[in-house]
């Protein structure tokens, strides 16, 4: 048996960088590793590649341009480069390390099965300009995924090419505009309730509409009476996020759609939070005309630096003829064909045009379809149920220590929302978020949505187990209690992170975006080094 650790140190005590233990000479503390900038690591004459010929002096001239200064690129050996990025990655937090409770972002586990499927050579090694007959399998994946998305939403068509949520919103609004213009009824106002995602008004404005705000009711939902009051012949439509960004289901959705349709408008639904209702509610049944689905949220494809987004848009029968190209159709011999500009004249004469160069994010389609098929219809329903159950577990476990402004509005959906109303003067949402870093968690979404003061928005997703949720809740309770007791040490959190609390205001007001070595210091470049001679 190993001898007991005489120091009594345990991992939860954090690095012992002060107090009894001396500072290390290296600046590293066991697995807590410091790392300089890559430019500070460079040395003269280093190179990661062994050329089998003399590359010679690089010419300082490109066409009529002459380089007058050194190219300040870092020069490192391969192991130094690999270690640099690996050491940096250890200072980072990731969904593979622990919960990522960012509300409205839906950071869920990316199943490894999805990755294996996406890496199959038949999907990974193809090119969008290959002859169509050689990529029928990939086309079949897009067709199957499109079919699932239409069935899950009860909608008539789906545009697969939008690259992410906001791109999908634009696609939906452009389809709405095309439909209105086709009936000779150009309208100029889009109504957006307070509980919508911030991208919604931006999208409507970008598409050339005037945006008007619809207030929320006291229980955090769209004020139906106020909405009805504003409807009229100048209103092109509404953009509603459902479930909304307070984590609530818009119960009046069908009545909202009916009222908008009766006034000649169309209904866009921001489906970013579809993960809370997938398999339970079909948006088509609620009278929605267009909705984007974030594959990188609901269908577990990588999110937030891990991979590109993908935001297919489902469309109602009224909008289906205006869907963008390219899209897939089967010809009379059953072969899948991509409808592009030339064939659009025959097969999509009313299409509003093209959203992207190609058909969309193939790598995300394979992952999303793998997720759907591995869960099945019953599994997808359970995804929504577990995500909602987890969020309600967080809401009810913390409502006695943190103010939960909509706790009385019924169960929440995928995310739990708290405000800073219970915190004493001087203690803020930011202090709780920074404290969460010390507790080993990624902070929740803070100060959004704006309708709640000092918002803390927590979305656990179905990924988290009860044990994991209890650990997170324990940390949140402890932080809330410390804040209420006026514990000043919370103001200096994070204490155990690679960097202490940043001066956010200074970072935004006077950002230092470049680094330069002092003369004679490591990192100072010289022309001879670049030539490799």
């Amino acid at each position: 048996m190993n001898a007991p650790n005489k120091s009594g140190w345990k991992p939860e005590m954090g690095p012992a960088s002060d107090g009894e233990a001396p500072a290390t000479a290296s600046g590293d503390y066991a697995l807590a590793l410091e790392e300089p900038l890559i430019f500070e690591l460079r040395g003269k004459g280093k190179c990661g590649v062994d050329f089998d010929y003399d590359p010679g002096e690089p010419s300082p001239e490109i066409a009529k341009f002459v380089r007058k200064k050194d190219v300040e690129l870092p020069a490192l050996a391969e192991p130094e480069t690999v270690r640099h990025y690996t050491r940096l990655s250890r200072q980072n937090y990731a969904i593979d390390l622990g919960p990522f409770p960012l509300g409205s972002c839906t950071m869920k586990h990316n199943p490894r099965l999805n990755e294996a499927v996406a890496r199959l050579p038949g999907f990974a090694d193809i090119h969008p300009l290959q002859p169509m007959d050689t990529v029928q399998g990939a086309f079949a994946v897009i067709e199957q995924l499109a079919d699932w998305l239409m069935k899950l939403t009860n909608m008539s068509a789906v545009a697969m090419s939008p690259k992410a949520g906001a791109h999908g919103e634009l696609c939906g609004i452009l389809a709405m505009r095309a439909a209105l213009e086709a009936r000779g009824d150009a309208r100029e106002v889009v109504l957006v309730p307070e509980s919508a995602h911030g991208t919604n008004p931006a999208t409507a404005a970008f598409a050339g509409y005037k945006v008007e705000n619809i207030p929320a009711t006291k229980d955090g939902r769209v004020d139906l009476a106020k909405l009805k009051e504003r409807l009229g012949p100048d209103v092109a439509g509404v953009m509603i996020t459902n479930p909304n960004t307070c984590g609530l289901f818009e119960r009046d959705m069908k009545a909202i759609s009916d009222a908008v349709h009766a006034a000649g408008g169309l209904v866009y639904c921001d489906g970013a939070n579809f993960n809370a209702i997938v398999g339970k509610v079909r948006p088509g049944d609620l009278g929605i005309d267009a909705m984007h689905i974030n594959l990188h949220k609901t269908f577990s494809t990588p999110h937030g630096g891990g991979g590109p987004g993908s935001g297919p848009v489902v469309l109602s029968a009224a909008l289906a003829p205006f869907a963008p190209i390219p899209f897939l159709r089967r010809d009379d011999k059953g072969r899948l064909r991509m409808v592009e500009e030339r064939s659009a004249k025959t097969h999509a004469p009313e299409s509003f045009g093209r959203m992207a160069a190609f058909h969309g994010q193939m790598g995300m389609f394979t992952r999303a379809l793998a997720y759907i098929l591995s869960h099945g219809a019953d599994g997808l329903r359970q995804v929504a149920e577990d995500a909602v159950l987890n969020a309600n577990y967080v809401l009810r476990s913390l409502e006695d220590v943190l103010d939960a402004p909509y706790a009385d509005a019924g169960p929440c959906m995928h995310e739990a929302l708290f405000s800073d109303d219970n915190l004493p003067d001087g203690m803020t949402t930011l202090d709780i978020a920074k404290g969460l870093i010390d507790e080993g968690f990624h902070p929740m979404t803070v100060y959004f949505p704006l309708v709640v003061h000092g918002a803390m928005l927590i979305e656990p997703t179905e990924t988290e187990s009860k044990i994991g949720l209890d650990r997170f809740i324990g940390s949140m309770r402890s932080l809330a209690e410390r804040a209420k007791a006026g514990d000043e040490t919370l103001k200096s959190a994070p204490r155990y992170a690679p960097r202490r609390r940043m001066d956010e205001a200074r970072a935004a007001r006077k950002p230092v975006l470049t680094w330069k070595a002092a003369p004679g210091q490591p990192g100072e470049p010289s022309l001879s080094e670049i030539g490799g001679s």
Partner: protein, 123 residues
Amino acid sequence: MTIYYTEEHEWISVEGTTGTVGITDHAQEQLGDITFVELPDAGSTVKKGDSVSVVDSVKAASDVYTPVSGEVTEVNPKLEDEPELVNSSAETDGWLFKIALSDASELESFMDEAAYKEFVESL
């Protein structure tokens, strides 16, 4: 000189037909540390209620609506380098823009200092 306050947390101090517009101390406190102020163009003509300026803080980007119609005559040149002036002196040195009022009757619906104070307390 009279100072008026709006429900959108702006103040306008009027001297003759020229108004100076800023956000209130309460507004800057809610926004937190201000990092950037986007100002209207001097010489532009604006309509009451138009979004004419954006105040960025560490928490959010917020539109500022002009409380009155008229022509923007001057913007605060100091804010480009010192947006923090809006935090430290929102109702004096941290003013945003000056405007030549085209319709003084627009001022009638605004609050005075006491009424605004009461309004903030009711929030």
